[in-house]
């Protein structure tokens, strides 16, 4: 008797995106951060956003400064070129990278120490130049890598583990970014993956500097009672401005909502960020309203999350600099070295 083996069901192939790549293709090396670190939650959403948008990993440049947050580019998109630069200076390296190759999709990951203290100057000037890139601040209110000193985003009254109270005012990076003229400013929380992934996608679709300040609790040094950047505190005080959905440019926009309950914000590439109202009216294209809402949240001690401000009309550095379409890094000697007649002409003018 011939036994015929019952064919075992083929293992279920992992889901792929439009490039036929799996989610695993967008991962990096294993994280070496503490278990439960907010940064790892953000890394997961970065991976998810790039995968779902079917972005070619080799077209991405991922950069960072120094600190726990700045280690994370090693943990996503291992096929992309990565650059862990010097403390607080990632914006300049990102600017140079963009100058050399404006076709790259640039994402920078920084922390509150890296951005709000040593890197405040470069952060400001990056925004002023409006270099197209996603700039994520993984904000936990402390210096994790040097064992828990206050950072400049620590709230007044917040305490360290040993009970030391912060008396100095906090720098609100979103408020500052709006003041500096940033065209895309959002805040989120590592504990709200749905909101976070939608905002990362929208930031990727924005042609200009997109600042995303994400409260990302430090489980080791700043997750205690008395901290205003703990999971518990953030969860309790989180006040989302709206419920978010991201509709990429290649998908049909459907209208299945009550008029007046939803606002679609159009991104440069034709994608939309759909804002579903939650109780109150908020217009993210109104700079004054954004400023007021942020100040009000300081007063109330709440964590205001969502798309705080968006200005689609702000020209990017690239639009203003009249570059050839080809990346400068790809230009040939024929394109880069002027002909002999040019040197002759210059020499003649000097005789």
């Amino acid at each position: 008797m011939v036994e015929t083996a019952t064919p075992s069901p083929a293992p279920k192939a992992p889901a792929t995106n439009k490039l036929n790549l799996t989610l695993a293709d967008y991962k990096g090396s294993p994280s070496t951060l503490c278990d439960g670190c907010g940064h790892d939650a953000i890394t997961s959403q970065i991976i998810k956003a790039f995968w779902e948008l079917s972005i070619e990993p080799h077209q991405v440049a991922k950069l960072s400064g120094i600190g726990c947050s700045s280690k994370t580019p090693a943990y996503f998109l291992s096929r992309a070129h990565g650059f862990n630069s010097v403390h607080g200076r990632m914006p300049s390296v990102a600017t140079g990278t963009h100058m050399a190759n404006h076709k790259l999709i640039t994402i920078g990951v920084s922390g509150d120490g890296d951005t709000a203290s040593i890197g405040l100057g470069q952060f400001g000037h990056l925004i002023r130049r409006n270099i197209p890139m996603v700039y994520i601040v993984e904000n936990n209110g402390v210096y994790g890598l040097t064992k828990g000193q206050f950072s400049a985003t620590a709230d007044v009254g917040s305490t360290l583990k040993d009970g030391t109270v912060n008396r100095q005012s906090a720098i609100d990076l979103c408020g500052l970014a709006i003041e500096l003229g940033c065209g895309f400013v959002a805040r989120s929380f590592a504990g709200d993956p749905k909101q976070l992934v939608a905002l990362i996608k929208a930031a990727l679709a924005h042609e200009g500097t997109a600042v995303l300040d994400v409260i990302s609790p430090c489980v080791t040094f700043n997750n205690h009672e008395g901290s205003t950047k703990s999971y518990k505190h953030a969860k309790e005080m989180d006040r989302p401005l709206h419920e978010l959905g991201f509709i990429p440019f290649y998908e049909q926009i459907t209208v299945d909502y009550e008029p007046g309950t939803v606002q679609d914000v159009e991104m440069h590439d034709g994608s939309h960020l759909r804002l579903k109202k939650l109780g109150h009216d908020y217009d993210p294209t109104d700079r004054f309203a954004a400023d007021r809402a942020i100040h009000q949240s300081h007063k109330d001690g709440t964590l205001l999350t969502g798309l705080l401000f968006h200005d689609k009309d702000l020209p990017s550095w690239t639009q203003l600099n009249n570059l050839v379409d080809q990346p400068l890094s790809r230009l040939s000697q024929e394109q880069l070295r002027p002909k002999k007649e040019v040197l002759d002409e210059i020499m003649k003018s000097l005789t």
Binding site: H58, S85, Q335
Partner: protein, 610 residues
């Protein structure tokens, strides 16, 4: 005896004429427009075929402080600064008395009559000129009167020295190109000065020019402009900078040239420029651009170099090409920001924390500013590391005569860069692996269309695969390979220029702008002290074998440099300790470009003590 101008003693009495060999020192107030007039004077002599050089000794100020311009005319082609003043044009009332007091007897002094400088000294030859009155003849415009005064002294000096009026006119046309009104006014004013001098001054000094044929085909240019041309011809595509004297004009010239000559047929730029918020950002951008595959550069001076220190160590350790110009000035801190120096040598060679040694190029001339700018981009990409070009204020901002620059025949060296096809064939790559045994690994550029192209740059310890590593053996391997690269660099950097004199037991070693005084010093030593010398001009760091051999071949070697501590001497002692006792130091560090006489005197003094 009265010492009025026209009656003062005739200085030519018992002297022969001195033709084409003197220096003119023009003292003015900065911001008064004297720079244009001085350039006209310089160019008109140059156009007569006579070797000439000009140095601007200016204050760190925009308007109102004293400034001096020296023009050296020399038939033998010596173009270093000359210490002595032969002709003073004392236009600045603030400094006139001091300026005149310092003159040697017999010097010529052209001055406004109302300064009454003849009352200060009667042993110099005064030519006193009613500049105010003459300016009124040239223009009714009160604002312009001050400016035309400067061109009037050019007219007076032209008459005294017998500079052709046609050459003055031509120089004015070149100086004010495209501004017909300015050309007309300046020509008129120069002529008023000349005519007045002809009618009212009795030539009573020995100095004059005579047409030669030694500048035909030559150009006049400053080093910053020359370096800018070099950068453009090298195909620079990312320029990131922060203004600082004396380097600002390098990037300013470069940006102008790029906008003129590096726009494609569709009107699009083949370059990008950012004026950064500080030097830290400037070099960070240049490094980012170098990593991503552009030919990137920044330009600065000493204080900026200090600020770039951390990033330069990073780029050295992570092996990213970038070109950095340092147009040296006197420091530390602001120091004397408008004076020249060679005191950044050590700080640049070792720039940053940890073990670092950089490749440093040391041009001596405007020609080498052009050539080394091009070489620097090739070196940076070949070696994958920062390459510094150290010039100084004297080369960078002063006018130098030069042969025209030669169009580069050598194609770009873009170094070891793998594309997608090569990656596919090789099945991947290890970013920091020494495949070829020269210490230089292969790199890929961001955006390369291959799943194995990506790698991670980190300032922390890493292994051959660019993965994080704190293993002691990985670190040692990496550091040793970086040192090997420096060894490899020796075959690519500009070699020293050595003039071996078989009769010489004494050698002179110098670098950069000091060269011009050395040429003259060697002639002085041989002529006046019968001391033949050999000469080694170091053109780069690290030292190549030729430098050591030169020291070995001589009884002793004078290391001549423009800094207080003898930085080149220190470096030679450090790298060739067995030869340390052969080395002697000659230093000049007062902020003025070094002159031959200062060097000759110091060498002869030390020779006495042998």
């Amino acid at each position: 005896m009265k010492t009025l101008a026209r009656d003062s003693k005739d200085m030519t009495e018992d002297k022969k004429l001195i033709v084409n060999d003197f220096s003119i020192h023009v003292a003015t107030v900065n911001g008064s427009g004297s720079q244009s007039s001085n350039t006209v004077l310089l160019r008109s002599i140059f156009q007569m075929g006579i070797p000439v050089s000009g140095k601007n000794l200016f204050p760190s100020n925009i308007m109102g402080l004293p400034t001096w311009f020296t023009i050296r005319v020399n038939k033998d082609g010596y173009i270093a600064r000359k210490k002595e003043v032969d002709i003073l044009v004392a236009m600045n009332p603030q400094t006139a008395i001091e300026d005149v007091k310092e003159l040697r007897p017999g010097t010529v002094c052209v001055s406004p009559i109302e300064l009454n400088l003849d009352k200060i000294r009667d042993d110099v030859k005064h030519y006193q000129v009613p500049f105010g009155e003459l300016a009124s003849q040239a223009t009714d415009n009160v604002k312009l009167k001050k400016l035309v005064t400067n061109i009037i002294y050019v007219g007076v000096v032209a008459e005294l020295l017998e500079i052709d009026q046609a050459e003055i006119d031509r120089a004015i046309e070149a100086q004010f190109e495209g501004k017909q009104k300015a050309i007309d006014l300046n020509k008129k004013a120069a002529m008023i000065g000349r005519e007045w001098a002809k009618e009212n001054l009795k030539k009573a000094d020995p100095y004059k020019v005579e047409r030669l044929d030694l500048t035909k085909g030559k150009i006049i240019i400053d080093g910053n402009q020359a370096a800018a041309i070099g950068c453009m011809m090298a195909g620079v595509s990312a320029v990131t900078w922060y203004p600082i004297t004396p380097s600002s004009s390098l990037c300013e010239y470069l940006i102008d040239y790029l906008h003129k000559y590096r726009v494609d047929k569709d009107g699009k730029n083949t370059f990008a420029v950012v004026q950064a918020e500080d030097e830290l950002a400037a070099v960070g951008m240049a490094i980012g651009a170098g990593w991503a595959g552009a030919r990137s550069m920044t330009s600065t001076s000493g204080p900026g170099i200090s600020l770039m220190s951390e990033f330069c160590g990073f780029a050295y350790f992570t092996e990213i090409p970038v070109v950095i110009f340092d147009v040296q000035r006197v420091g530390p801190s602001t120091g004397l920001p408008t004076r020249t120096s060679q005191a950044d040598l050590l700080s640049t060679y070792f720039l940053s924390h940890g073990d670092t040694k950089h490749v440093v190029l040391l041009p001596n001339s405007v020609g080498e500013c052009y050539e080394f700018a091009m070489a620097a981009f090739d070196l940076a990409e070949r070696l994958q590391q920062p390459v510094f070009v150290l010039t100084d204020l004297d080369i960078g901002m002063n006018n130098w005569m030069s042969d025209p620059f030669v169009y580069p025949e050598k194609p770009f060296d873009r170094g070891k860069v793998l594309n997608a096809e090569q990656l596919e064939k090789a099945g991947g790559f290890a970013r920091y692996k020494d495949v070829d045994g020269d210490g230089i690994a292969y790199r890929t550029l961001p955006g390369t269309e291959h799943p194995k192209a990506g790698y991670f740059v980190r300032g922390s310890g890493h292994n051959e695969n660019a993965a994080y590593s704190e293993r002691p053996e990985d670190y040692v391997k990496l550091m040793d390979r970086l040192l090997k690269k420096l060894e490899t660099a020796k075959q690519y950097v500009p070699q020293p220029v050595i003039e071996q004199n078989k009769d010489a037991k004494v050698g002179i070693l110098a670098f950069g702008s000091t060269h011009w005084a050395i040429e003259e010093t060697r002639d002085q030593l041989s002529r006046e002290a019968k001391l033949p010398t050999s000469y080694c001009r170091v053109r780069s760091l690290p030292f190549t074998d030729g430098v050591q051999k030169f020291v070995e071949d001589h009884d002793h070697v004078y290391v001549v440099e423009q800094n207080r501590d003898g930085q080149m001497l220190d470096l030679l002692r450090l790298e060739m300790p067995q030869l340390a006792t052969k080395l002697r130091s000659v230093k000049h560090y007062n902020g003025l470009p070094v002159d031959a006489e200062s060097i000759t005197t110091q060498i002869l003094e030390q020779e006495k003590n042998v």
